[in-house]
């Protein structure tokens, strides 16, 4: 299983530039809406023709602008799951599922569709129409319809975004167990950080139509390498940075100098820390610990977000700190010591 893509496409709102290679596992596209994730899937499936470049899936050339190769979507054998599932409303469930294999012999077709209907738990719904099904059932039909053609690659375009939160979690679990039996490559598009982390093995972040470097997901969340990766993975505390020594960085927006573990590069621009990763100390004896005043507290269902103001430098940015409810022991205007642990800070 392999996927190679290196394409450019000029669009009215941005220039799409996608370049990556993928061997196995679930690959996530993470980015703001309108950053080119869905457009990449459309180029990959042949629904949209890129301006130039190359797309190769499982050693088959789908598109090559130099050799003037451009396979039609019909010939690419791609499983495409749309956000709204796009079931054919004029056909019942069995016809929806069988439409992609209508060239098969009747007996073969029937046994295959029976197998997929069982596998996806759709027994009894064969004669129903799409509008009579729940969101979850519709998704399973759409998956069965795509998987039955044994596609070279499966593209999932924000499959849960149209659903309620509690349905979402169930469907996600369901989807994951179905995908366990699928051996091809999967691309999963989402703008939900937590979802991307749970579902994918590797993640590519999109920034204004440009696909950034492919990253292993744990590595991506632990050590983002640029501003887009940092903000898209949900990091709240970001400051402009200046190198002051071999192991020291001055954070301009926070008004403090930090001692870091690895050697600092000359052109370091930003230093960041996640709201969860900051610690509260009793005194300032540990390294990278500074006094702060609690400026504001916001209550979430299971945690508090605490906004901390620099005790000495009032022009410095507010630091966002998250604490579980059971560990919450502060009140407004308290003075606390915040430690920025060396292991949890990242800079680039």
């Amino acid at each position: 299983m392999s996927l190679y893509i290196n394409i450019e496409k000029h669009l009215p709102s941005f220039d799409l530039k996608v370049n990556f290679e993928h061997k196995s596992g679930i690959l996530g596209f993470l980015g703001a809406s309108g950053s080119g994730k869905s457009m990449s899937l459309k180029c990959l499936s042949g629904l949209v023709t890129p301006s130039k470049g190359k797309i190769i899936v499982n050693d088959k050339i789908f598109f090559d602008s130099e050799k003037a190769i451009n396979l039609s979507p019909q010939k690419r054998k791609i499983g495409y799951l749309f956000q709204n599932y796009a079931l054919f409303p004029n056909m019942n469930i069995i016809d929806n599922i069988e439409i992609g294999i209508s060239n098969m012999k009747n007996g073969e077709k029937k046994s295959l569709s029976k197998e997929y209907i069982e596998r996806l738990g759709l027994e009894g719904l064969e004669k129903h129409y799409p509008w009579q099904l729940s969101g979850g059932q519709q998704q399973r039909v759409a998956l069965a319809r795509a998987l039955i053609t044994s596609p070279e690659i499966l593209l999932l375009d924000e499959p849960f975004s149209a659903l309620d939160q509690h349905l979402r979690n169930n469907l996600e679990k369901e989807l994951m167990s179905i995908l366990k039996d699928y051996s091809g490559n999967v691309i999963f598009v989402t703008h939900d950080i937590a979802e991307a982390y749970r579902v994918c093995n590797d993640i590519i972040v999109y920034e204004n139509g440009v696909s950034l470097e492919k990253r292993e997901k744990k590595d991506l969340f632990k050590r983002p390498k640029n501003l887009s990766e940092t903000t898209l993975t949900g990091c709240k505390n970001i400051s402009k940075a200046k190198k002051t020594g071999k192991y020291t960085i001055y954070a301009e927006n926070w008004g403090h100098e930090y001692i870091v573990k690895n050697e600092v590069s000359e052109n370091v621009q930003y230093i960041c820390i996640r709201a969860h990763d900051i610690e509260v100390c009793v005194n300032d004896e540990t390294v990278n610990t500074f006094p702060y005043i609690i400026d504001n507290i916001i209550e979430n269902p299971f945690e508090f977000t605490v906004y901390m103001k620099n005790h000495t430098n009032h022009l410095a940015n507010i630091i966002e700190y998250k604490v579980e409810k059971k560990n919450m022991k502060f009140s407004l205007k308290d003075t606390v010591y915040l430690t920025f642990p060396q292991n949890n800070m990242f800079y680039f």
């Binding site: 459309k42 690419r76 791609i78 409303p89 795509a146």
Partner: protein, 225 residues
Amino acid sequence: MDYTPLWISIKTATIATIITFFLGILISYWMSNFKGKSKGLIDGLFTLPLILPPTVVGFFLLIICGKNGPVGKLLELFNTSLIFSWAATVLAAIVVSFPMMYRTTRSAFEQIDINIISVARTLGLSEFKIFYKIAIPLAMPGIIGGLVLSFARAMGEFGATLMIAGNIPGRTQTMPLAIFFAAEGGDMQKAMLWVVIIVTLSLFLILILNYWSEVQLKLMGRRTK
């Protein structure tokens, strides 16, 4: 009383609507997928007969199909002529009813969720199969609407018909022409009778249209009641 205007009207409108129906579906499907720069202009030309006064449409047809027009000269080679024949009533009805079919059907095609067409492509369905297995059924309520409107327009055609087919009783005199000439001749009773027939037929058509599109929408679950 001579009922030939009724039969001529029904015959003319039926033949014209059948031709408009197929022509309209093909052209509107082609136009709904057409991305060229001249799209606006072509669309305008197809819609023009709807906007123009029927006499203007009739005038153009007269120029094209008359003795000195290109079509008229061609027909002369076969020793036949279109002007003042029954075929001319059909031609006039096609030209004025086509925009009804074209516009309603095109907007029905354009309202189909693009993802549905896209997913059909990725599933390997040929463009022709997508057209008749997916696009046509999904646009069916619009197609039926266009069909009924076209038929009503074809049956009501007056101006263009008068200009290229004339008012020959028993051959080209349709109901709207019969009304005009009866009223002009002072036979108000006869005119009234034709008016009642046309109003009844039109109302009946609209009722069928409403019922049919309701059934179609229900089939696809867009109305659950």
